[in-house]
């Protein structure tokens, strides 16, 4: 009986943590390397997307509208809405013209 109690507690903790992860939904936070160019994209926790390519850095805001749509903005100006897919460690952004931009998670 004494062995069962800690196991039950561990099971409950695992279930709790799993449910927390499910509630958090999609997270893009971290760095992503373009699979087509040298571009590196970083999504920060405070809602910014920092892109770096050829030594140039740009920064725009982003909002996850839902788990399949992301919206970019600068100041109060909406820049565009992209479809979004995350398959394991590959992020795919699809722009309004249907062009796909693929990125691989680096960390």
């Amino acid at each position: 009986m004494k062995k069962i109690a800690p196991l039950s507690l561990a099971f409950l903790i695992i279930v709790f943590m799993a449910s927390c992860n499910m509630k958090e939904g999609l997270s893009l936070t971290g760095k992503w390397q373009s699979m087509d160019t040298d571009q590196i994209v970083e999504f920060t926790r405070d809602g910014m997307m920092v892109t770096t390519m050829d030594g140039k850095t740009n920064q725009v805001g982003y909002t996850l509208v839902n788990n399949s749509t992301i919206e970019f903005f600068m100041d109060e100006v909406k820049l565009g809405t992209f479809d979004l897919r995350v398959d394991r460690s590959v992020l795919t952004l699809v722009d309004a013209s249907g062009k796909e931009h693929k990125y691989e998670k680096t960390w």
């Binding site: 373009s34 087509d36 160019t37 571009q39 994209v41 997307m49 892109t51 770096t52 390519m53 050829d54 140039k56 740009n58 725009v60 970019f72 903005f73 600068m74 100041d75 109060e76 100006v77 909406k78 820049l79 565009g80 952004l93 722009d95 309004a96 013209s97 062009k99 931009h101």
Partner: protein, 138 residues
């Protein structure tokens, strides 16, 4: 002349006086449309996300600058600014820090530039009329 020939002629005429100059961060579009003072309207296109095809299209603040240079400052005129915001929004643009701005991507950049041009031209007419009231000299 048939309708297609006229359409082709119009297409050529509408942009023949324009220039697109690459800048370090995007493009400067010099149009043959003019501000009320006769100067050419220029549209600024800035690539804000390399490779992701996101652009910020603005008037570079020239709309308000031109009137300021004429001795007029509308920035404290709440009702005027409210109207300008509404006019900007009617063309899908925004008034942000006294610049007319619009987001764009690869697929709608040309249309966005046209909408920007229509917005600044219309707003400049409105402000030009307000200027005639001659009450806002700074």
């Amino acid at each position: 002349m048939d309708s297609q020939a006229l359409l082709n002629d119009l297409t050529e005429a509408l942009i023949s006086g324009w220039a697109v100059t690459p800048t370090g961060t995007g493009f400067l579009i010099t149009t043959d449309w003019t501000w009320p003072n006769g100067h050419a309207i220029e549209i600024y296109v800035r690539n804000v996300s390399e490779g992701d095809s996101l652009f910020l299209v603005t008037d570079g603040g020239e709309l308000f600058n031109n009137f300021f240079l004429e001795g007029l400052d509308f920035t404290s005129e709440t009702a005027t600014i409210h109207t300008v915001k509404q006019m900007a929004q009617s063309h899908g643009t925004e008034l942000v820090e006294y610049q007319i701005a619009k987001g764009a991507n690869d697929s709608n950049l040309g249309l966005s530039i046209r909408e920007m041009l229509e917005a600044v031209k219309e707003i400049s007419f409105y402000l030009w009329q307000r200027m005639g009231e001659n009450t806002l000299k700074h």
